[in-house]
Amino acid sequence: MSGKTGTTTNNIAQARRTVQQLRIEASIERIKVSKASADLMLYCEEHAKKDPLLMGIPASENPFKDKKTCILL
């Protein structure tokens, strides 16, 4: 089990990196899903009126929608 072969030292470096990375990830602060969900919903609600694809905007305001021409009878 000598630490002198190339592959063993690579494995050690890899394992050390993994442990270090996991330590960082395990230590972050988290909030409950109920709170996170409430915040996502709040954001949607607050911005819904300004979302053209959600609300649909009249053809006259959307440069991509064709404006209907008037037919004079």
Binding site: M1, G3, I12, A15, L22, E25, Y43, C44
Partner: protein, 394 residues
């Protein structure tokens, strides 16, 4: 908003004295700044006291277990349950309003200009085209020296585009309005990877570009000098996509890869701060929720998922038994209520992000949908396909 990355992460290494991007490192309890090569060398020096390969592995396992435990403790409810009290969405009528024809082969990538009107697209045939989406006119076109131009992006100023693919590079082309413009002559090579370029994006300015590559890394580059400012290592396989956090939320970005992982990175330190591994196959696309608190992913496992960054877990899966083909690209509507996803079965599915249900399915493309982006003002979205065309939907 100027981000002075150069001042923070670039300079003479405390070990080898070479000028390189630096990382903070603890050597015998003292803070030092080493370049990534010296960090690697330090890591490969023999075992520390009380450390064996086996002990490191078991520590890794126990940390993973702890992570799962911590995440599970906060899993008190599902998003769609909380969303039950939200009003259901009505019927959506979205149609193809424009079809952009001109590419000679599969469209692989597209991006909107901040002017909400121009679009850049790139194709397997090596061509990169800039379109006026209102009139469908082609304003600029350049032929790359390689085929499969898998990534393209519009600069924030609207004055340049970036692209790359099988050439392993990301190049920037300034856009001019000269009569006999020769775009290829003004080309500037910025990024160099050791495998294909899969994604690229300018940061807040025309001065920096973030790239993702088949070589398993992401990297941040200075456009003017072509210098590497920071590199991001951690994916175990090709990185296929990336997205920058909305500017208000700070200096992070998310990437997705063939290792089925989505990783969130700190742009200044090069550190991965969070990672998520719940998909069953390659992640083809990642996109931040407009508030920056979450991101969505699309995968070859035929699902799209929503990950909340503050809860540090997956909070929704968008899937149906009838959907069996991979999702290639995803984007949110302006409010984040709708998720548009393009699939390899030629369709686009529109999902209610909060309730988890599908609200619409859009037909029109005659081959895989490979790329999809909502316009900057949210009035429309554009999809690109292997059927050689791009479509604007509203």
């Amino acid at each position: 908003m100027d981000q002075t990355f150069l001042a923070i992460v670039f300079g003479p290494c405390d070990k080898c004295s070479k000028n390189k991007p630096l990382r903070p490192v603890s050597v015998k309890s003292e803070q030092r700044s080493y370049c990534s090569l010296c960090v690697e060398m330090m890591a490969t020096e023999g075992l520390h006291e009380n450390e064996t390969l086996a002990s490191l592995k078991s520590e890794a396992e126990s940390l993973k277990g702890k992570l799962e435990e911590e995440r599970a403790k906060l899993h008190d409810v599902e998003l769609h349950q909380v969303a039950e009290r939200v009003e259901a969405l009505g019927q959506f009528v979205m149609k193809t309003r424009r079809t952009l024809k001109g590419h000679g082969n599969k469209v692989l990538c597209m991006d909107w200009c901040k002017d909400k009107r121009r679009i850049v697209s790139s194709s397997q045939d090596g061509k990169v085209i800039v379109w006026d989406s209102f009139t469908t006119n082609k304003e600029h076109a350049v032929t790359m020296p390689c085929t499969w131009v898998m990534a393209c992006a519009y600069a924030p100023s609207g004055c340049a585009i970036a692209c790359g693919g099988l050439d392993n590079k990301c190049s920037v082309y300034p856009l001019t309005f000269e009569k006999n413009e020769n775009m290829a002559a003004k080309k500037k090579s910025v990024a160099m990877h050791t495998n294909y370029l899969s994604a690229c994006s300018f940061t807040n300015s025309d001065m920096q570009i973030l790239t993702a590559s088949g070589d398993g890394t992401c990297a941040l580059w200075d456009v003017e000098s072509g210098q590497l400012l920071q590199s991001f290592h951690g994916h175990g396989a090709d990185v296929l996509c990336l997205d920058l956090a909305p500017s208000e939320t700070g200096n992070t970005f998310v990437s997705g890869g063939c290792d089925k992982k989505a990783m969130v990175w700190d742009m200044r330190s090069g550190q991965c701060v969070q990672s998520f591994e719940t998909h069953d196959s390659d992640i083809n696309s990642v996109r931040y929720y407009p508030s920056g608190d979450a991101f969505a992913s699309g995968s070859d496992d035929a699902t799209c998922r929503l990950y909340d960054l503050r809860a540090d877990r997956e909070v929704a899966i968008y899937s149906k038994e009838s959907i069996i083909f991979g999702a290639s690209s995803v984007d949110f509507s302006l409010s984040g209520r709708l998720l548009f996803a393009g699939y390899n079965d030629y369709t686009i599915n529109v999902w209610d992000v909060l309730k988890g249900s599908r609200v619409s399915i859009l037909f029109g493309h005659e081959n895989r949908v490979s790329t999809l982006r909502v316009s900057p003002d949210g009035t429309a979205f554009c999809s690109g396909s292997w059927d050689h065309t791009l479509r604007i939907w509203a």
